[in-house]
Every structure is written in structure tokens, then in C-alpha cells.
Assembly symmetry: C2
Homo-oligomer: 160 residues x 2
């Protein structure tokens, strides 16, 4: 496992994401790491991330899968290119599509473990599948199709 | 358009959802209404609901689709049964699966319009398709498969 989270390697102007940006003080700030050929992130939902009392809100689970997926895509693209996550904008991905299947109600109040697996990698697109587990039990599965950040979305350095 | 939002008709013990519960002071509190045979909700993302600066976070869009979808499912089930949303727990749905396709980057700082359409309705399951638009332009499409709240997830009245 690398000591630095994928998301902490993003350049500052791309670090405002509500789900994973280290500069978004209101956000979830999720952190993803390599664990062998898989990726892993742990998140403890806040007490108000409720669906039905006692269970975690599905939109939060979708959000965790989304950011763990784009982070995994970025790290996999960098690894495949022999590069490192960092200033290179080739290694920043956004979500083209997201699928979540809720397998069982996710208990609130315990850490959630996300695991990601890299599927297809092409020049501009990476597919990631993910699982979300609580107390060792599978609660949700997801798939993220992530694409390189389009040039038109790239913020000017220092603008944000 | 009915004057009362679907989500404001849920019984109190089912009104803590982070996405749409009227009793969740930290949540998004989205409100959905009939508009003919479609359903509609409007939401203005908060300034920190950022993906890349200038654009809305995809996990928020997934969350809006999720709650507009389950709300639409509940309202459609009540309408199909000739009943009304309210205390009847038959008319409270949770998400079995969620799909979101991001069509174009969603601009931050303007209202988002969600529209829902009811697909298949069976005894315990309703499929809803949804669109998210900004300034009249389609930004995302979604599909929610919603199922009746399982009895085991039902909170005791007064417990939450």
C-alpha cells in the first residue's frame, strides 16, 4: 500500500471535488490506495448520512464508488503509462457513467470498505468495478466508466 | 402540480433521508411533484458541490436521481393503487439499483431540473427513468429500480 492517497496527488486546481478533494472542507475527502492489484478506501459515514434510520444513504454509497472509481482509474492509467500521479493532467479522470447495485441494506455507524478492480484500460477510458462492504459483508457493487478530463473542463492553474 | 411534495408526505420515521428527508437538517431535502404524467424536482447545488471547479459533483447528481426516483416510485405506486402518499408503508420505496450516464458537464451555480418518468410497475417494484437538465440542456440521464421498503428495515414508530 502506498503511503500517499491517489487523491492527495491530484494538482491543487483539481482538488476541490466534493467527494474526494483535499481542499473541499465541506466534502467527504475520501482517500484511495493501492492494495496489490486492487485499490482500497475506507470511509465512516457521518451520523446524518441516513437513508432509513440505521442504514446508510444510497447516494453516499454512489458518491464513494464514484470517487474511488475515478481515483482508481487515474492511478491505473499512471501505472500503465509508467508514470506517477501528480501534475500530469492525463491522469485525472471524470465519470462518464456510474452503476450501483444495492445488495443489502448498509448499516450506519461502522466503517465501509471500498475495493476497486481495474477492468478495461484504453487511451482515454478506464473501467473500474467496486464493492462496498460493512463488517465484512458485501452491501453494494458498482461500476464506473471513467474518462480523461476533457480539455474544456480543465481549470486554469491558479483560477480555483 | 400538487401543492405537497412527495417527500413531505412520508411518515416522520421515514423522513430522515440525507437526500430527501424533511427532518434531516444536514441533508439536501429535495422535493418532488407531479407534472402531468411526469414528476419534477428542482435543486440548486451548493457552492461546494464541486467536481472540477465550475461543474457539479457527479455524486450529487446521482443522489438527486436516487431520491427523485424513489419519490416518483412511491407516488406512482400510490396513484396506481388509488391511494395517497402518507402513513401507508406500502408507498415507501428504497433503491435496488441506480444507473447514471453523464451526458455533459453540469454547470454549477444554476438550478437543476429533474424530470422522472414511470416505467414498469409491479407489486413491489417500480422502475423510474430520470433526466437532469441545466439551462434547458440535458446533462445526465438516470434509471432507478425502486423496491418497497423491506419489512426488516421499517423503523419502529417513534424510534427515530
Amino acid at each position: 500500500m502506498e503511503p500517499r492517497a491517489f487523491q492527495d496527488s491530484y494538482p491543487s486546481e483539481l482538488s476541490h471535488c466534493y467527494g474526494c478533494g483535499r481542499l473541499n472542507e465541506h466534502g467527504l475527502q475520501i482517500k484511495s490506495y493501492w492494495s496489490g492489484d486492487e485499490t482500497v478506501a475506507t470511509y465512516v459515514p457521518r451520523p446524518y448520512h441516513i437513508a432509513i434510520p440505521g442504514y446508510v444513504y444510497g447516494g453516499l454509497i454512489a458518491s464513494l464508488i464514484d470517487c474511488h472509481g475515478t481515483g482508481t482509474a487515474a492511478a491505473a492509467a499512471a501505472r500503465a503509462a509508467g508514470g506517477e500521479l501528480g501534475a500530469d493532467p492525463r491522469f485525472r479522470f471524470v465519470t462518464a457513467s456510474l452503476r450501483v447495485q444495492f445488495v443489502r441494506p448498509t448499516p450506519l455507524g461502522v466503517p465501509l470498505e471500498l475495493r476497486g478492480r481495474v477492468g478495461e484500460i484504453t487511451a482515454r477510458k478506464v473501467t473500474v468495478t467496486a464493492t462496498v462492504s460493512a463488517r465484512g459483508e458485501l452491501c453494494a457493487r458498482g461500476e464506473v466508466v471513467a474518462v480523461q478530463l476533457p480539455e474544456g473542463m480543465m481549470p486554469q492553474v491558479g483560477a480555483a
